[in-house]
């Protein structure tokens, strides 16, 4: 396969690839939004969990913050 063909193909891939990524994630946004509408909301506070779990200090900090937060309402 010569270089021209390769360049054409790679450009096609660029289009197809970004297209697929956007279509799928947009579709996902739609479905997630729909679900969040349908699902009854509970009282749950989300906190990010980094890949390596949460260390005690972290938990302490969060629970403290939550405690504080409940007091404030």
């Amino acid at each position: 396969m010569n270089i021209e063909e390769l360049l054409v193909q790679s450009l096609q891939l660029l289009g197809l690839g970004m297209g697929a990524v956007f279509i799928i994630l947009v579709l996902l946004i739609g479905m997630v939004t729909l679900v969040s509408k349908l699902v009854p909301e509970e009282i749950v506070l989300t906190v990010t969990t980094p890949r390596q779990g949460v260390d005690p200090g972290h938990v302490a900090a969060i629970t403290a913050a939550l405690h504080q937060y409940r007091k404030n309402r």
């Binding site: 390769l6 450009l11 990524v21 279509i23 996902l28 699902v39």
Partner: protein
């Protein structure tokens, strides 16, 4: 006696070393140094670097088909087992809450994948450089470095270009570690001080049921549109379902700890077995390192630019800085967004807002991987 002595001498490293092997052992040592002293992704780069040293010891042939590293490689990388199990563990450790709290930000995780496909084009262009020859498969495997996600890069690399896997993995993890150095200038270059100061409203609460349904929805969309991405996405969803369903804690804890640790050790050592002198010490490797840098930079830029678009569209409700987190490199990239945000405005805490695009980037690059495997593979 002499004969025995000669036999022993003929079996020493000193007698058998090639320059390439010596160079690769230095490279392995360098990776270990960066991991320990500079904090470059030590969980991966220490096993990879050490595996690289072992693989380049003469006589012992530890990376050969009979050797420890060779056995681990064929059992876990060729089969795809190790990266998929790591991805399961990642799923069991990832909280998609921030993403669910504001799903629209997922678009940032999509935009950042532009780095992948642009790099694929760049890799093909690089064929014009004499001494470098990248097939479309090679180019795709190199481009996935832009996904800024280790297991995804290793999975795709092992399928499309096993010979380049060593360089690809090293580049992927090194640049992930360099995210705090690579991204800030690009982010600042593309954003105005006013944009960077933008505060974002607190994330809404996300219900448990939404979190349980998300991995299933994600798998559904993927299997409908891009089955070739389902091994990666599927294991991510499986791990996340174990975590969120709340009824199999012992399984999710094992997946997120002992199992991923064991697999990480094996995976790293196996990748190291691909740090063979003849493959690694080549113009291709330099090309890969260069292209990897391009991939990260373009991905970051694309994310930030999409962030600026959302800033406009939403009338200033979105801080463009979180766009760069779309490249994934979880959670490093999100922390960078947070850091730059704080520089612009000490009251501006972007971390949790950036986590959404950050984890969306993991999904985005897994989807991109699926496209590459479907068309190039």
């Amino acid at each position: 006696m002499e004969q025995g002595l000669l036999q022993l001498w003929a079996s020493t490293g000193l007698y058998n070393f090639t320059l390439g092997q010596i160079a690769m052992i230095v490279v392995g040592g360098g990776l270990i140094y960066l991991a320990i002293a500079r904090g470059f992704e030590p969980l991966l780069l220490i096993p990879i670097g050490f595996g690289g040293i072992l693989a380049n010891i003469p006589v012992a042939d530890i990376a050969g088909p009979e050797g420890l590293l060779g056995i681990l490689y064929s059992a876990g990388i060729e089969s795809g087992l190790f990266p998929l199990l790591i991805f399961m563990g990642v799923g069991a450790m990832t909280d998609f809450g921030p993403l669910l709290a504001r799903p629209s930000l997922m678009i940032l995780g999509a935009a950042a994948q532009f780095g992948i496909f642009f790099t694929l084009f760049g890799a093909i262009v690089m064929n014009l450089v004499p001494g470098i020859e990248f097939s479309l498969a090679d180019a795709a495997a190199i481009a996935i470095i832009g996904g800024a996600d280790g297991p995804t890069a290793i999975y795709v690399g092992s399928r499309l270009a096993p010979d380049l896997l060593g360089a690809i993995a090293v580049a992927a993890y090194s640049y992930m570690a360099l995210v705090p150095i690579i991204q800030p200038p690009i982010m600042k270059l593309l954003t105005t001080a006013k944009e960077r100061e933008t505060k974002m409203t607190q994330l809404r609460r996300v219900g448990k049921l939404e979190k349980i349904l998300f991995p299933l929805l994600l798998l559904l969309v993927t299997l409908l549109l891009l089955p070739s991405a389902t091994p990666l996405v599927g294991m991510l969803c499986f791990g996340n379902l174990l975590k969120e369903c709340g009824v199999v804690e012992r399984l999710s804890n094992t997946a997120a700890n002992e199992l991923i640790n064991i697999v990480t050790i094996f995976l790293g050592l196996s990748i190291g077995s691909k740090l063979a002198a003849d493959k690694f010490l080549s113009a291709e490797t330099l090309g890969i390192l260069l292209l990897g840098m391009v991939a990260f930079s373009i991905g970051t830029a694309a994310g930030v630019i999409m962030g600026k678009i959302m800033y406009r569209v939403t009338g200033g409700a979105v801080n463009p800085l979180i766009g760069s987190a779309g490249v994934s490199a979880v959670p490093m990239a999100a922390r960078v967004s947070n850091k730059i945000g704080l520089q612009a405005n000490p009251q501006n805490f972007l971390l949790m807002h950036a986590m959404g695009p950050n984890v969306a980037g993991v999904i985005g690059s897994a989807v991109a991987a699926g496209v590459l495997l479907a068309i190039v593979g």
